[in-house]
């Protein structure tokens, strides 16, 4: 198939085998499902927890604000890979055994919730102060104001940022392979060690990532326009 490129003349060791490619493709496609599930589950955790962290940083309690702020900084400044190992191995030391999936989701969800809390914070800060004053004038409670007035207005400007991190979380799922979550890279590693052929598996994984993350960026932009129109902005 690559004959017309004279690949074997230029690179004697390069030998792409299509029969082998078709053989491993179903396994890799199956693993893509796991990658997408991992990304979606991790993202859902991050969406909820991120909002909690963002709101906690706006609370009246200075202790709470300080603790959450420092925690977010700590998680954002340290490698996700190390956090995955930490959560997976530290549990059993204290008698709590977490499965690879559970600890992976906790690690990736927690890591990205710290990033998302910054995005939410930007959105929350962008809501004009007059909105708060109007809510006070109408005698609304803080909880009501957040729920009905502030959060709905804070979300649309935050969507591009939130969307970028959805793609980011998807691209970070390969790190879950180190604790044995059977996603794309884990499967490609397994295939590689069975047959000592890495070319096809790793290349297909790269192509799958490209094919999914490039259109995602366009979809996120379309979604942002949709939400803005919905809210009449």
């Amino acid at each position: 198939m690559f004959d017309w490129l004279f690949m074997d003349e230029w690179f004697p060791k390069f030998d792409w085998r299509w029969d082998y490619t078709w053989e491993i493709l179903p396994r890799l496609i199956e693993a893509t499902g796991n990658t997408l599930i991992a990304a979606a589950a991790g993202y859902l955790i991050a969406l909820v927890l991120g909002l909690v962290f963002a709101l906690a940083q706006r609370s009246q309690s200075r202790v709470l604000t300080f603790v959450v702020r420092e925690f977010v900084e700590f998680v954002r400044s340290t490698p996700l890979l190390l956090q995955i190992f930490f959560i997976f191995y530290v549990g059993p030391q204290f008698g709590i055994t977490l499965s690879p999936w559970v600890s992976g989701m906790i690690a990736i969800g927690l890591h990205y919730s710290c990033y998302l809390s910054e995005v939410y914070r930007g959105g929350l800060d962008s809501v004009p102060k007059g909105q708060w004053e109007a809510a006070t004038a109408l005698n609304m409670t803080t909880a009501q104001t957040y729920k009905r007035l502030i959060i709905p207005q804070a979300i649309p400007p935050a969507i591009p940022g939130l969307g970028n991190y959805l793609v980011g979380i998807f691209k970070d799922t390969p790190m879950l392979s180190v604790i044995g979550v059977a996603e794309l890279i884990h499967t490609a590693n397994a295939i590689g060690s069975e047959t000592w052929r890495y070319l096809e598996a790793y290349t297909i994984v790269g192509v799958i990532f490209l094919a999914l993350s490039l259109p995602a960026a366009g979809l996120i932009r379309a979604f942002e326009g949709f939400v803005r129109r919905k809210l009449g902005m």
Partner: protein, 221 residues
């Protein structure tokens, strides 16, 4: 074994790992800056072939994950006759990956320079290269430095992945010590704190200082 005994026993290995992490970071960061500058400028070129190749580079490296790129460079590139030693493969993968993100920062920084600056430089008969180097880039640099601070932290965090191709960095040492002692909380906790200190108390203050320094150089204080 108390935590203190544990630390004093494994401290040398952790420090040698930290040294490797620092080396990976520095080499990766230098490559990132170089690639970002080259491809950021190429992406602004009116020539379609030049612009196209920059777009291809940026989209490929931003569209796939660092781990996939690292494995590909380490396991597949030898088939094309390019065999990189694991240490080199590590920082090259990091630099190629972060360079794609940096290129977008460079482009954004250059576009943030007001149009009047370009016109004024042209009016006093500066050549395009001189205009870029003397007038546009310094101002673009000041505008994009805060974003570079974040990217530098991402590069530092990215170096942890090189442990997966057995480069003996901090992450690798932590993993090895964990495998022989099972003191996971102590060893991974210590490694987390070391990464945190590197990022928060060395790298971030340095980038802040650089921001201030460059702003003063441009007389913007």
């Amino acid at each position: 074994m108390s935590f203190f005994e544990f630390l004093s026993l494994y401290w040398p290995r952790l420090m040698s790992g930290t040294g490797v992490t620092a080396a990976q970071f520095l080499l990766g960061a230098i490559l990132t800056v170089g690639l970002a500058l080259v491809f950021g400028l190429m992406k602004m070129s009116p020539n379609r072939a030049i612009k196209g190749s920059a777009v291809v580079y940026i989209e490929i490296f931003r569209g796939t994950s660092l781990l996939v790129q690292l494995y590909w460079i380490f396991f597949v590139l030898p088939l094309f006759g390019i065999t990189l030693e694991k240490f080199t493969a590590g920082w090259v993968a990091i630099g190629l990956n972060a360079g794609a993100y940096g290129a977008e920062l460079v482009r954004g920084g250059i576009m943030s320079v007001p149009k009047g600056q370009w016109e004024a430089a042209t009016a006093i008969n500066m050549s395009p290269a001189r205009r870029m180097w003397r007038i546009i880039l310094p101002q673009a640099l000041v505008n994009m430095l805060p974003a570079w601070g974040n990217l530098m932290v991402e590069i530092l965090k990215g170096t942890a992945l090189v442990s997966l191709i057995s480069v003996t960095d901090l992450m690798f040492q932590a993993k090895q010590i964990n495998a022989s002692t099972y003191l996971s909380a102590q060893i991974f906790g210590t490694a987390l704190v070391i990464y945190y200190i590197l990022a928060r108390f060395l790298l971030t203050p340095f980038m802040r200082w650089l921001e201030g320094f460059m702003a003063r150089k441009l007389g913007r204080t």
